[in-house]
């Protein structure tokens, strides 16, 4: 069986992605335009107001959200960068051997200390 893998990767490998992007955009544009043209349009003041289970809505929905979500996003950014750092390490795991493993243990140890601190501070508790 011919199981050859690519030996050298070139930027031109990405060209077919443009075809896929074009198809995706064409499909999205087609469905938006057709549904815009086909559907009826009847407006009224009550119908256009935002749906809140029949109760008259108070104010608008541009209201601040809980700080918990914001903290989750910050922690996500930090740990995401950590995960990104681990990709080149994991791919080369065998070449780097025990030395690489110890290096990563040190890196992860510090981050886990931070993780422990966050858990202890109750940042990830959503019950209250």
């Amino acid at each position: 069986m011919l199981l050859a893998t690519t030996a050298t990767y070139q930027p031109a490998d990405y060209l077919p992605i443009l075809i896929q992007l074009g198809l995706a955009l064409a499909f999205v544009a087609f469905s938006m335009v057709v549904s815009h043209l086909v559907g009826p349009k009847r407006h009224s003041k009550v119908k256009d107001s935002s749906f809140e289970c029949g109760i008259e809505s108070v104010g608008n929905a541009r209201t601040p959200i809980s700080v918990k979500y914001f903290l989750t996003a910050i922690l996500f950014v930090l740990f995401d960068v950590e995960v990104i750092f681990m990709y080149p390490w994991a791919v080369n795991f065998r070449e780097l051997g025990t030395t690489g493993f110890v290096e990563m243990l040190l890196f992860m140890g510090l981050l886990l200390a931070g993780f422990y601190y966050i858990i202890k501070k109750g940042i990830l508790k959503w019950q209250n």
């Binding site: 601040p64 700080v67 903290l71 996500f76 990709y87 080149p88 981050l111």
Partner: protein, 170 residues
């Protein structure tokens, strides 16, 4: 082909970067910034730095911009509550930005870019396995120091996120 793609991507990057600054709606600014990151990733791909291109999308467009969106939603976006900026603040901002531009121009004026030597150039240098070997052997100390930086950032985030009495939100 490569050159025209470069100019196209540079054009998109510049236009969308201007869009970030000039958009009235902060959500539009975020979307323009995402487009800018895509154009920059396109440049990385042209340079065959595939891992860098993917990381740019995942970290900047995927993670940090989500944080920005949360921050925008975290703030009160009603027009009536937006504080009116005095003219002095605008002038100060323009002067500060202009000075930064001046410094950048002065720093980059005399730079002569060194082109790659075609004979010794290795096109596979930007692949993830090459990058890993260099990062974990040659640049080990900066890498380990980065984890200390993350730790500090985590503590900072926890301090910032302390709840205040009498907050009302979702």
């Amino acid at each position: 082909m490569g050159t025209s793609l470069f100019y196209f991507l540079a054009f998109v990057a510049l236009i969308s970067a201007l869009g970030v600054v000039f958009a009235k709606n902060p959500i539009h600014s975020v979307l323009f910034l995402i487009l800018t990151f895509f154009a920059i990733s396109g440049h990385y791909l042209l340079l065959n730095a595939q891992f860098l291109a993917a990381v740019n999308i995942i970290v900047y467009a995927g993670a940090i911009m989500v944080l920005f969106l949360f921050v925008i939603m975290f703030l009160n976006l009603n027009t009536d509550t937006e504080p009116h900026k005095p003219a002095l603040a605008k002038v100060t901002a323009a002067v500060a930005g202009g000075l930064l531009l001046l410094v950048l121009i002065a720093a980059l004026r005399n730079v002569t870019p060194v082109g790659a030597d075609a004979a010794t150039f290795d096109s596979q240098i930007g692949m993830v396995n090459r990058l890993g070997l260099v990062l974990y052997q040659q640049y080990l100390l900066p890498f380990e120091l980065a984890s200390v930086l993350f730790l500090v950032a985590m503590v900072g985030a926890v301090m910032l996120g302390k709840r205040e009495e009498g907050e009302r939100n979702f």
